[in-house]
Symmetry: C2
Subunit: 222 residues, 2 copies
DNA sequence: GGGCGGTTACGTACGATGTACGTCCGGCGT
DNA sequence: ACGCCGGACGTACATCGTACGTAACCGCCC
């Protein structure tokens, strides 16, 4: 069926590679959703037999892990050390948000599978460097980094869930449901204010609060 | 094989119910992990044929949804309105953390499947009531609520990932890996400080920062 | 009491999925 | 020249979710 590569005849098949497998998985996830990711689908995407994938990826879990790593590896974490540290932290968070915007479906993989490992290490390194340059001692810098990451991760998780729900019920969130006014007086009072969707604004609001509070913390005695 | 309930013979089978199905799923998840949850396993847990479950649950996704709802429904969200609003918010966040501690594996289901819907509504209602009582106008209260929920969710997500990684590599996080000192100078400098695991302390640290910052915000003109 | 319709438990069966295993082939070292 | 080894492939199987048809049981009306 499929011919092999021979020296004389240039083949359009560019040799299977772990990177190509991962990349195909990323494309497939972004196009058809995570639910549609199967080894067979990835193989079809590459025009390859299913079992050939296992020469480059031990199993599906590892493939997911590879997807997560690939996505975070694409983040631009470089910042200007001359800027105020809060601006550097903001830039870091926004870099995360940018790739979350570029790879929305893969990002949920990242959130659920790989808060740890080499993935988190890249972000942790950058964040920790910033906190350290800001003058905090190591224990405080660790806590600061963790708080900022928690907030950033959580905001992303919320936005992802919100987006998923929005395209499942294109009309407002509360149009379909009947809310018991005695159990939910405040959300009903808030009304369409809760339905308003401004993920970036919401994110920046909380980020400003958090960064402001951190910046007001006492520094290490030097 | 299995006899039916007849009026004369009292059977130990207490009638299949959606609630019993969901409860069995919760137990199974907490005992054997989310990976082990299958319709067949749930049926076996209840001593029931597989297809009988579908009389009470339309499909597996709905069962997961039921699990999430069950877990959040068990949260004690009652607070003392007389307390300072920041303490009420703290109590709310701690209530979430408590059920996260009681149902660690189910909580990841909640995080990934149900940030929205009735689940979130209960927390949103309580949180929004607190923010409203604190004197903020509706738009600000919404943003405050979202920021606090983002932080809480993110912290929980991080802790879950951390816990999972810790029991996969019982020895330290960095013992196994070789870290490139040129790429990760700061995390290496931090050393075992990063390996320290104090989820509650970390969580309270960030929560205090966030709540303090929010409390310093200007209130609605009344 | 005796059908009887609706509800619920059940068994069978099918398509899809992850992957273990054996085979085969092309290029490279000797 | 020849063996060998890594990678591509096909087959096969266990397991999954669930569509469908069947049968047992309930309460009800005559």
């Amino acid at each position: 069926m499929t011919r092999r590569v021979t020296s004389g005849t240039p083949e359009p098949r560019p040799a299977l590679t772990r990177d190509r497998v991962v990349r195909a998985a990323v494309d497939l996830i972004e196009r058809d959703g995570t639910r549609a990711l199967s080894m067979r689908a990835v193989a079809a995407e590459l025009g390859v037999a299913v079992m050939s994938l296992y020469n480059h990826v031990p199993n599906k879990a590892a493939l997911l892990e590879g997807v997560a790593e690939h996505v975070v590896a694409g983040m631009d974490l470089t910042g200007d050390p001359a800027e105020h540290w809060t601006d550097r932290a903001r830039a870091l968070a926004r870099a995360f948000r940018k790739t979350a915007h570029d790879y929305p479906r893969c990002m949920t993989i990242v959130l659920t599978h790989k808060v740890d490992g080499t993935v988190g290490l890249r972000m942790a390194e950058s964040a920790f460097a910033i906190a350290h340059d800001a003058g905090f001692d190591a224990p405080t810098a660790v806590r600061i980094t963790r708080a900022l990451m928690a907030y950033t991760l959580g905001a992303q998780l919320r936005d992802a869930g919100m987006a998923e729900v929005l395209d499942r019920h294109p009309d407002g969130l509360f149009a379909a449901r009947e809310l018991d006014p005695t159990r939910f007086p405040n959300v009903l009072a808030a009304g369409d204010e809760l339905a308003r969707s401004d993920p970036e604004g919401d994110f920046e609001f909380g980020l400003d609060l958090l960064l402001g509070a951190v910046d007001a913390l006492p520094r290490q005695v030097t």
